[in-house]
């Protein structure tokens, strides 16, 4: 602004070449002579020519932008994922348009539609905890490639980038069992969360492996997944005089809430009760005792999500239409970080 941006036409007028020659010269087309290329490229540099993105998008019908939908940005884990996406997309020459659904399915739907209207080449989607109806996703999928990450659903036939929640939870539980813990509480997440379900399955498998029988009293369930809820549930168990020697919580926040409750009742961690969380968020090293937790490779999720989406974009671009590749599921390994709480 100030003054208008330089265009191909400007260059063409200054140099006496046609616009098409300028265009080709700038992209080193073999039809153009070295001399001409040189002149054009020099002038372009001198005048700081910047190709008009919109015009290119219009012509090439690709916007080089990727939409990202995330339920909650205010989590360490989310930031890590976004970070990976930012870095990888930058490397690949794509822009990222990021929006937050705040765990509202309606907003999710709206954002999805909006992104498609505003012309993104593809979308990275992590579902709301409350997304039950998935029609809007299926519909969106008809218009542009979608890759699911972290919070996924097996009802949506898209490539999925997730962590191996089941094995992560299995290892965490086994870690507790190996210490001789027998009465291991599992604080469950909400019911229709894919991840929460997998973590529960991991817990169950570990118990089964070691022939510990499942005690429903030891498996309270969160309404919302947060610190307060962890505290509340553990308080309840204590006041019901339910006995336990370990707690594995579906989430770090819940685990931290649990720790707070235990400390309030002067229960010694990890001597009397060991605690393990899930996510390895920053808080794990701030709470005392430091919380053992299952680390999820958020940054890598971000990277992979971009990678796989771009693969699909390239395929779609070659074949000139959305193809129904059999969706893959990429499961990333978790890593149990042992700390003072266990």
């Amino acid at each position: 602004m100030g003054k208008r941006n330089i265009t191909l036409k400007d260059l063409s007028e200054r140099l006496g070449f046609s616009v098409s020659t300028i265009s080709r010269a700038l992209k080193d087309h073999h039809d153009i002579s070295q001399e001409t290329k040189y002149k054009v490229q020099q002038l372009a540099k001198k005048l700081n020519y910047i190709p008009n993105y919109s015009a290119q998008s219009l012509k090439n019908s690709q916007t080089k932008t990727i939409g990202v939908i995330i339920p909650n940005l205010l989590l360490d884990f989310s930031s890590k994922i976004i970070n990976g996406m930012i870095h990888q997309s930058r490397k690949e020459g794509y822009r990222l348009v990021i929006s937050e659904s705040g765990h509202s399915p309606d907003l999710e739907k709206d954002i999805l539609e909006n992104m498609i209207r505003s012309g993104v080449d593809g979308i990275l989607l992590s579902l709301t905890n409350n997304t039950k109806n998935i029609d809007h996703v299926l519909l969106a999928k008809e218009k542009c490639p979608i890759v699911l990450y972290d919070k996924v659903s097996d009802k949506i036939p898209c490539t999925r980038i997730i962590v191996d929640n089941e094995t992560g939870a299995y290892n965490a539980t086994k870690h507790l069992i190996d210490q001789g813990r027998k009465k291991i509480v599992f604080i469950k997440g909400t019911d229709h969360s894919f991840n929460a379900k997998k973590r529960f399955e991991g817990y169950l498998r570990a118990l089964k492996d070691r022939q510990i029988k499942v005690d429903k009293n030891l498996i309270p369930q969160c309404g919302t997944v947060c610190i307060q809820e962890g505290t509340k549930l553990v308080n309840q168990m204590i006041s019901k005089r339910i006995e336990f020697d370990a707690i594995f919580a579906v989430t770090d926040d819940v685990a931290i809430g649990a720790i707070k409750a235990l400390k309030k009742h002067n229960i010694i961690i990890p001597k009397q009760v060991a605690v393990v969380g899930f996510s390895n968020s920053k808080s794990t090293t701030i709470i005392e005792p430091n919380l053992t937790s299952v680390d999820q490779p958020g940054y890598t999720i971000g990277i992979k999500a971009i990678e796989y989406l771009l693969k699909e974009l390239k395929l779609a671009h070659q074949t000139e239409h959305l193809l129904r590749t059999t969706p893959k599921t990429i499961e990333l390994k978790t890593n149990l970080i042992k700390r003072e709480s266990s």
Copy 2:
């Protein structure tokens, strides 16, 4: 895309109207008869017509997207800011392209240029802690409106959205003084950080107001601003047998590091030493004792940043060129949250 997107031309062919009539009918132009409008709008809805963003951008020479550059996403405060931006921009019909500079001036410069190439209408910029040379920003400012937020510089003549760091620090320090604390440590941030400087000034003013003289021994300085650094500095002071009865840290992380050091030395908080941080991050309620901290309205910063940038965009659009409005500085109030640590 399976099948091509519907265009105005498609509608025009189906209905027998010209493309221009279709265009006008869709935007409720008064030149078009009710009947025609109805027909067009019906068919558009039925076929799910989506105007081509790139074409509109090209024609209107505005992309309806805003670039956001942030030094570090992995902070509660950053997430809050981004959140505010996301919500406000959405409300105003703008998209957000977000990138992270990782506190690298080179990357900052590169991202800035890239955003301008890729055609954003305006940019929201929070500077790197290491940005000394600001030429790239001034240069970018010639091409598109920039609003600075949070980490700003007074050398750049742009509108600034910041919190009132000085008053925040002043109040925090006064709070400590009011409790009878006399030997108040201030753990300083890096030297050329605008915010850190202001916080230090607030600290100094409070001391001056209460006629406490400044003791350089009580003002250690961070290399990098993090937990470890806080611990290290406090450990040093203790081993040097420097006496103090309160610590005000430039950042929550530093304050948390300080608390860890104090606890390790069995110093009772807040009885022997009170601690106050800055930012009111999530960790403040996880560390024990809970940390008193200066709350910064991150979400509001995000909102305001978008608001003021859009104001400038509208002005620029009216006057058809970048105008040098005298840049305003919007200072948002902070709020001291008192907790157990003081």
